[in-house]
């Protein structure tokens, strides 16, 4: 077997595994969110399908598969169909550069736990994140519905605004590590310590801007139920709706995974050098903790008003992120 074929097969297997893992993560994240919400609100939550409701995601999936697909009369058919796909794909491919563990030996060859390690990995993440907004905007526009349109407009304004803070907040780790490769950032954290200690402001800005990027509460203005029914996906049903749903939750996973990599040392942890497979466990634990934090925030905080949201993004997060970049750069130059 020539080495090229081996690399191709390895990449295909890893990509398929990643898609499978993300889809499973999505399914159980919805269940986890409902269970945690039930716990917070002193209810029982889903508990009928399977033990502790563990089969609930499968039941939901089957239900959504058999729902009728509705297309509004005035809709732009092609774009209406394209929008959920455009939301879904960036959410999936953004995870391609995130390393979920150190290199391991398997079948006599060293395998990287992570699909790819670009030397401009952070730029790749930024570019995929900047394309992600199209699906939402197009969904809002093509539905021919004023709630959808308003949701789409709000989403695009919000995502463009918070993308700037997001982009600036990742410059801190890049300066400290001196590389844009995510693997390189993790290696640099192995030598010093988790960057959340050096970059508390950067980590905070990244997390908040990430929340806004994936339209999670308290920044879920684009889909505010009380004012916009469901925002940009009001008119969607069946599988198209579930693609939006899936896209949102996978984006949550992606944001938490990237935050883990940048600020929490990724797969690093005790004994990870001796037992590389432990890396996956540490990575999962850290990502899950951040996901829990996201759900917790949603269940605790009320939604911001739209002008508050924009004011917070432009007048608080952006100056904070800028100051963080300046301080980090100055300190790095002065302290060597």
């Amino acid at each position: 077997m020539s080495p090229v074929i081996g690399i191709v097969i390895e990449a295909i297997i890893k990509s398929a595994l990643m898609v499978f893992v993300l889809a499973t993560a999505f399914a159980y994240l919805t269940l986890a969110e409902r269970k945690i919400a039930a716990f917070v609100q002193v209810r029982k939550g889903p508990n009928r399908v399977g033990p502790w409701g563990l089969m609930q995601p499968a039941a939901d999936g089957i239900k959504l598969l058999f729902k009728e697909e509705m297309v509004p009369a005035g809709a732009d058919k092609v774009l209406f169909f394209l929008a959920p796909i455009l939301t879904m794909i960036p959410a999936m491919v953004i995870m391609a550069v995130v390393p979920i563990g150190p290199d391991v030996e398997l079948f006599g060859r060293s395998i990287r736990l992570g699909i790819s390690d670009l030397n401009v990995g952070m730029l790749y993440i930024l570019s995929v994140a900047s394309v992600a907004v199209y699906g939402i905007v197009l969904a809002g526009w093509s539905s021919a519905n004023k709630y959808s349109l308003l949701g789409g407009l709000r989403a695009s304004a919000q995502m463009i605004s918070y993308e700037i803070a997001l982009g600036l907040s990742i410059i801190g780790p890049i300066i400290l590590a001196g590389t844009m490769s995510l693997q390189g950032i993790i290696t640099a954290q192995q030598q010093s310590t988790w960057y959340v200690l050096w970059q508390p402001v950067g980590a905070l800005v990244f997390f908040l801007a990430g929340l806004a990027e994936v339209n999670r509460a308290p920044f879920d203005m684009p889909e505010a139920e009380q004012e916009l029914t469901a925002g940009y996906f009001t008119e969607y049903s069946g599988m198209k709706f579930s693609l939006f749903f899936m896209g949102e939750y996978i984006k949550m996973v992606a944001v938490c995974a990237i935050a883990t990599t940048l600020f929490l040392g990724g797969y690093l942890g005790p004994y990870v050098e001796q037992l590389p497979w432990l890396g996956i466990l540490y990575f999962t634990i850290k990502t899950t903790a951040l996901l829990f934090l996201m759900i917790w925030i949603r269940l605790t905080l009320p939604r911001l008003r739209y002008d508050q949201l924009m004011a917070f993004g432009w007048k608080v997060l952006l100056p904070l992120a800028l100051a963080n970049v300046v301080v980090t750069a100055t300190a790095t130059v002065l302290l060597g």
Partner: protein, 172 residues
Amino acid sequence: MEAVSAAQIIFIVVALLTVATTFLVVTVRNLIHAALWLVATLFGIAVIFVLLDAGFMATVQIVLYIGAIAILIVFAVMLTRRVMQDVGPQSNENWWLGTIVAAVFFAAISTLLWSIRWPALPGAVVGDTVLALGRSLVDPNQYVIPFEVASVMLIIALIGSITLALPGKQSE
């Protein structure tokens, strides 16, 4: 006849697609569709940047053009959406003159192109493009002054567009 390489096939396919989408940008009536064809064109140009060994520029093209500029255009189209029902003529009365000017321009520039044989210079090997680009931008002997001027220009544009968009100024 030399064998056609993969890069050449990609170039031809992407170039044809890009020309087609560009043509659609200026011809379709629906503004959102035009904006989306523009996105397709920008993406095609990003692919061609990759073919030209400028992967970093391709990424910047996607972040900046597709992620910021094109989305702002889509945003502006949505804000001015009443225009979408516009059924009047889409071209002005001097359209034939404009087409002739463009055709003459194209003829002139392509004659120029085919008449010059570009000398195949030995390409200097640039190790780390991103590093070299970054260094040139802060090197006093190279581009630090244009860089600073560009940042001042961006601030001016920022202030200018805020001033334009401030409400309540038109009525006075």
